[in-house]
């Protein structure tokens, strides 16, 4: 199976990029591609339940709805461990199918047939 990692490095600081990242991730997962959203730097804030609820970029579905569709379609969210810790976020507030990972996991994915796109 093809594999795609969608790297999202933005949250409320650039909700356009954060939103479009999930739109593309949904196109991928719904097409039968093994799809991971990798949240790093500011993007890790999205991995806190409730944070995305207030993000609704004009012209797109609300970010919460996009994330729910992504997870419901079988997508997985990875969260950069040092980025998460640096910001003092709460491991107990992660959405479903969301895992905190280190760089090795990302490298393994990309070097075993995965490709990536960054927002």
């Amino acid at each position: 199976m093809a594999k795609l990692l969608v790297s999202i490095t933005n949250a409320k600081n650039d909700s356009d990029r954060a939103t479009v990242g999930f739109v593309v991730a949904n196109a991928s997962v719904a097409s039968g591609v093994e799809t991971v959203v990798f949240l790093s730097t500011e993007g890790v804030r999205i991995a806190q339940k409730g944070y995305a609820d207030s993000i609704h970029e004009e012209g797109f579905a609300p970010l919460k709805e996009l994330m729910d569709n992504f997870i419901g379609a079988g997508g997985t969210i990875w969260v950069c461990s040092p980025c998460f810790k640096k910001r003092g976020l709460d491991e107990n507030k992660l959405p479903a199918n969301t895992v905190i990972v280190g760089g090795a996991k990302v490298v393994e994915f990309l070097t075993t047939g995965g490709t990536s796109i960054t927002y």
Binding site: V23, V24, S28, A30, S31, G32, N69
Partner: protein, 80 residues
């Protein structure tokens, strides 16, 4: 043109990009293998995205038509 007799109808209206793909996935899940789905979609990207989606997922795009209800894509679900 051959008259098609779909088993199911799904109207995606103006959904596009990832929303369109999610709608395709959900609509195809609702029909049985071998059945024909009429999928209506009027986003300008749908004419490119739907053949690509069918190619990736193994479902078969039988035809595309433009009628009074907009653009319809007839997709036969794989597996039969």
């Amino acid at each position: 043109m051959e008259t098609l007799h779909p088993d199911s109808l799904y109207d995606a209206a103006d959904l596009g990009c990832g929303d369109l793909a999610i709608a395709l996935m959900k609509a195809v899940r609702l029909v049985e293998a071998g059945q024909l789905l009429e999928f209506r979609a009027n986003d300008p990207g749908a004419v490119v995205d739907i053949p690509a989606w069918c190619s990736m997922t193994g479902n078969i795009l039988i035809a595309g038509q433009t009628g009074a209800n907009g653009n319809s894509y007839f997709i036969r679900k794989k597996g039969n």
